[in-house]
């Protein structure tokens, strides 16, 4: 309006240009990973929440959550959306219990998560979840998703600001990628998985400014969900 007017009268006032379009998203950064074992799964996330720029919102704002005694979810992306998504999942799990009198199976929950993401196909949850749990036979299963619900069952996965650092490391250590003559069928033991997760995050903290503060590791086995917390660098 004002630019049109100033063009007409050939005069340009020193106006302040506002470019305040509202964006409903913010990337709160941070990193999550999932590793699938034979009879367990491991999911780990750092707890730093950033504001999308150089500020740290909080050092301890968890983005991985226990959904049931055999499933966990780790998120990255927009923390507000992630929180809503996790609540939606909890609600769906609750309705399932009401309806069927038992807890939802891991594959069923994995499918529900995909559907929840797809219901928001045209105003997506800006969230990249890793969902993990034990299936009916007690075997580990790790699923990763894109923001609109594309689902994939994998042996390991990393999402978030340090994903590009972690993924090749895990490919090499878990799938034995580029290791000539290595046994590519063996799955990591529990101790190996924990060690990998810790090493991966300690290294990522060194190189990625958005990853750090605290590491939360969830391990799901036949006994339930175990949680470990470890300090990462606060810088």
């Amino acid at each position: 309006m004002s630019s049109l007017l100033s063009h007409e009268i050939g005069y340009s006032a020193p106006i302040e240009v506002h470019n305040h379009g509202f964006s409903p998203y913010v990337n709160n950064e941070g990193t999550s990973l999932g590793i699938c074992g034979e009879d367990f799964v491991l999911v780990a996330s750092d707890t730093r929440q950033s504001n999308g720029g150089y500020s740290i919102n909080a050092r301890r704002s968890p983005k991985a959550f226990e959904l049931s005694n055999r499933t966990v979810i780790a998120t990255t992306g927009c923390a507000a959306d992630a929180k809503q998504l996790v609540e939606d999942m909890e609600q769906r799990a609750q309705y399932y219990v009401h309806k069927h009198g038992r807890e939802m199976s891991t594959p069923a929950m994995a499918q529900v998560l995909s559907q929840l993401l797809y219901t928001r196909r045209f105003f997506p949850y800006y969230v990249f979840p890793i969902f993990a749990g034990l299936d009916a036979k007690g075997k580990g299963a790790v699923y990763n998703y894109d923001a609109i619900g594309n689902i994939e069952c994998v042996s390991h996965y990393a999402y978030g600001s340090a994903a590009a650092l972690l993924q090749p490391f895990l490919d090499n250590q878990i799938n034995k990628a580029h290791q000539r003559g290595a046994d590519t069928t063996a799955k990591p033991s529990r101790a190996q998985a924990v060690k990998l997760a810790i090493d991966a995050f300690t290294s990522a903290t060194e190189r990625d400014i958005y990853t750090g503060d605290w590491l939360e590791i969830f391990i799901v086995d036949s006994e339930g969900v175990h949680k470990l917390t470890r300090e990462l660098k606060h810088d």
Binding site: E87, Q91, Q94, Y95, H98
Partner: protein, 247 residues
């Protein structure tokens, strides 16, 4: 079939100041098998006698979980109870979603009470044909409420509704003063003791027809059926034989 000319619908008074349709609905509660609720300072318990329509059918569900902190026991039309429990479940989830707190039990009961009252005042509606005992534990401790088709809700230390429930109430009236300090197990035993009084001659409580529900401080709403109830039925028997010996 009419008892009189003032009982066609719930929106007509009789000259004596009664609403017969509402009274008939309250009669429906007495058709259902009895349920008993008892409360201590930390816990609140429901016990129910399940009935099977015939030998080929399964036993009717009597206790329904609403949320981790709340449950109901049903006497009357089970299908009406399901409508009410779905409503309560939705409200419980909403409370958790919006305020992050468990739905206060008293408010939950008031909410279904209001729904029931609407059915007693609007033309063309039918009152619910079910009575409920609602138990729950919230920020103000354990609670036991009765819900009635008339829309009246009341809080109790101990109560019973359903067929032959007067016998249970008589037992409860004599004993409720001692319930406050009881442990969960003792409380369940007291509930079963009261429930047993409602059974027909020759019938007894067993793992098939007994249903137990409880919730309390640090105890999530739990429902026990079948073999899981044996432990408590045994306690009831033990108490019985102990009482015999002292006599």
């Amino acid at each position: 079939m009419f008892r009189n000319q003032y009982d066609n619908d719930a929106s007509t008074w009789s000259p004596q100041g009664r609403i017969f349709q509402v009274e008939y609905a309250s009669e429906a509660v007495k058709q259902g098998s009895a349920v008993v609720g008892v409360r201590s300072k930390d816990h609140v318990v429901l016990v129910a006698a399940k009935r099977s329509p015939n030998e080929l059918a399964s036993y009717q569900k009597k206790i329904i979980r609403i949320d981790d902190h709340m449950g109901i026991a049903v006497a009357g039309l089970t299908s009406d109870a399901r409508v009410l429990s779905n409503y309560l479940r939705t409200e419980a989830i909403r409370s958790k979603m919006v305020y992050g707190r468990s739905l206060p039990v008293g408010r939950a009961v008031s909410a279904i009470g209001d729904k029931a009252q609407t059915n007693t005042q609007e033309y063309g509606r039918r009152p619910y044909g079910v009575g409920l005992l609602v138990i729950g534990h919230d920020d103000t401790g354990p609670h036991l409420y009765e819900f009635n088709p008339s829309g009246i809700v009341s809080e109790y230390y101990a109560y019973s509704i359903g067929a032959r429930s007067q016998s249970a109430r008589t037992y409860l009236e004599r004993n409720f003063a001692n319930f406050e300090e009881l442990t969960l197990k003792e409380l369940i035993t007291q509930g079963l003791r009261a429930l047993r009084d409602t059974l027909q001659q020759g019938k007894q409580l067993d793992t098939l027809n007994t249903s137990i529900g409880f919730v309390g401080k640090d105890t999530k709403m739990t429902i026990l059926d079948g073999e899981a109830t044996q432990e408590y039925l045994d306690l009831l028997d033990e108490e019985e034989s102990a009482a015999m010996e002292t006599e």
